[in-house]
């Protein structure tokens, strides 16, 4: 079965504004979605800019992650199984992340 990567983007400054009740609701919704049978795995990314590695003057170097102009940053990834893009989209449409963020869907070469 082909696999697809879901890249979840959202505005991290949004989270601290949630109330305890809203945080609990969010956890419950995300957890429930993560348990769907076609989900291979999911990971949350640390809330920092990370590092960018590039070769300049023939030498690979790491610099601090890109300064993002946009408010939405990559916050998590999922791998899911689906026959094709249509099914992958279909399976992702009810993801709770879509209430406030963006999901980028990409097929993986297996």
């Amino acid at each position: 079965m082909p696999q697809f990567m879901l890249a979840l983007y959202d505005d991290p400054s949004r989270w601290p504004k949630l109330s305890p009740e809203e945080m609990q609701k969010a956890i419950e919704k995300y957890t429930a979605w993560s348990k769907k049978p076609f989900v291979v795995q999911g990971k949350r990314l640390a809330l920092d800019a990370g590092r960018v590695l590039k070769t300049s003057n023939g030498k690979p170097r790491a610099t601090d992650g890109p300064y993002s102009e946009t408010k939405e940053v990559l916050g998590g990834i999922y791998l899911i199984e689906a026959a094709n893009y249509d099914e992958a989209v279909e399976r992702t449409l009810d993801h709770p992340h879509l209430s406030h963020g963006t999901i980028e869907l990409r097929q993986l070469f297996m």
Binding site: S19, E21, S34
Partner: protein, 433 residues
């Protein structure tokens, strides 16, 4: 720092209802007792950090077996970290870290520790409801700190501005620091005024939740149940008086009617038109339990009488079975205790109408109508209009209801008044007996 272990749970990851909200109140209360009330902000930030961690970790790694304990530990570690990083350049840092570390080793769920947490929560209630804090601030602080509500949730429940609620919280915390309010349990001569202030705050929260407003119904119901929870916390403590039990009885018996109070269109259903089969029997049973507890001693407080009135309604399975003479008698008592409160007098008028007819009820509120302060009180005009309509004095009734519509009231109340106004133009239905 104690490592946080994540044990994936075997279940579906469904959490206890309101776990975060309630655990937030308990952890903040506990941390504030250890750190001192002046560092309430640090206690809150630490708990906030723990919940944000859970938000990041749990959805993929699974909800830990002891979710409440996990939050407790992560919040503790965050507080220890903040103190170690020297956010407070004080001499007692090592002692604080030691105390936090000690309490972090205790397994939550252990009976002694649960008892300690309940005690911490109780102390926090008393501090948040301190008479030296303005009432508005007391209410906001209790909901935020003990109840785990957010500023936005409090603002939407009170139909207030978020900035205004935030201001009240800032003011309350400043008063705690400046007046050196402590988390000590009140005792001696201090106990009664402190307890009164807590009960008043709790009942205010309940009534705000119970009042009918447009929208956000869920959050308003949450206020009722939070007030009930706080009341029961006080009732379970060693300092509970019959008055505390009476208040819990009032709240439980009134909350029982919540499912029957609004129709599908969101319109108000008056007590007499409610489908009593929809009243929550569990809450009614709870109400009677606390009513029984409240009769020890010979104190008869306003809460006792209100509970007794609610109990008469709860006992009657149908409207026709309501014992109105008993209710009228109770309202007479309540009116005396309340020092002739206009709100009580209005409610009493409804009972007068049931026992002696609308003409007597109208006469009973005549004095209120002369009070210039109540000229713009929609409920008085609404009751008067209703009684005039019963007496078939339609033009006067319509004028009265129109006046009521011009007053401040909520949308559901407005729709109710309009429905009444339509009735004024309809021919009176005559039933053959």
């Amino acid at each position: 720092m104690i490592p946080v272990q994540v044990q994936p749970t075997k279940d579906t990851g469904v959490l206890l209802e309101h776990l975060f909200r309630h655990q937030s109140g308990r952890v903040v209360a506990h941390l504030a007792r250890v750190l001192g009330p002046a560092r309430l902000d640090l206690a809150e930030e630490s708990m906030q950090y723990a919940m944000l961690r859970a938000l990041q970790v749990w959805p993929n790694q699974g909800v830990p077996e002891n979710a409440a304990g996990w939050l407790f530990r992560v919040a503790h570690n965050a507080a220890i970290d903040a103190i170690r990083r020297g956010r407070f350049l004080e001499q007692n840092t090592p002692a604080l870290v030691a105390e936090l570390t000690r309490s972090n080793f205790i397994i939550s769920g252990e009976p002694d520790f649960e008892e300690q947490l309940r005690d911490d929560e109780l102390r926090m209630i008393f501090m948040c409801c301190h008479p030296q804090i303005a009432r508005d601030s007391r209410v906001a602080l209790s909901l935020k700190t003990v109840g785990g509500f957010s500023v936005r949730e409090i603002a939407s429940a009170f139909l207030a501005d978020e900035a205004a609620i935030a201001q009240r919280l800032v003011r309350a915390k400043r008063q705690i620091r400046e007046r050196h309010l402590t988390l000590d349990m009140p005792h001696g001569a201090d106990l009664e005024p402190r307890l009164d202030s807590a009960l008043e705050t709790i009942y205010f929260i309940f009534n705000e939740g119970y009042a009918t407003h447009e929208g956000e119904d869920l959050i308003r119901q949450d206020l009722c149940f939070e007030a009930l929870r706080l009341g029961r916390l006080l009732a379970a403590s060693s300092i509970a008086t019959p008055r505390v039990h009476a208040l819990v009885a009032v709240m439980a018996l009134q909350a029982a009617r919540l499912p029957a109070r609004i129709d599908q269109a969101g319109d108000l259903i008056l007590l007499e038109d409610q489908n009593r089969a929809r009243w929550d029997q569990g809450l009614i049973a709870m109400g009677f339990h606390y009513l029984d507890l409240s009769v020890s001693g010979n104190q008869v407080s306003d809460y006792h009488v209100q509970a007794a009135i609610a109990a008469v309604h709860a006992r009657a399975e149908r409207l026709a079975l309501v014992d109105w003479p008993v209710i009228l008698d109770l309202y007479d008592q309540l009116l005396a205790i309340s020092g002739d409160s206009p709100v009580v007098a209005l409610n009493r008028a409804v009972a007068v109408a049931k026992v002696h007819g609308p003409a007597e009820a109208l006469a009973a509120i005549e004095r209120l109508c002369e009070n210039p302060q109540l000229h713009e009180y929609y409920l008085l005009l609404a009751v008067r209009g209703h009684l005039l309509l019963e007496l078939d004095r339609r033009e006067e009734a319509a004028a009265c209801l129109r006046e009521a519509l011009a007053c401040r009231c909520s949308e559901p109340e407005r729709r109710f008044l309009r429905r009444k106004l339509v009735q004024c133009d309809q021919p009176k239905l005559v039933f053959d007996k």
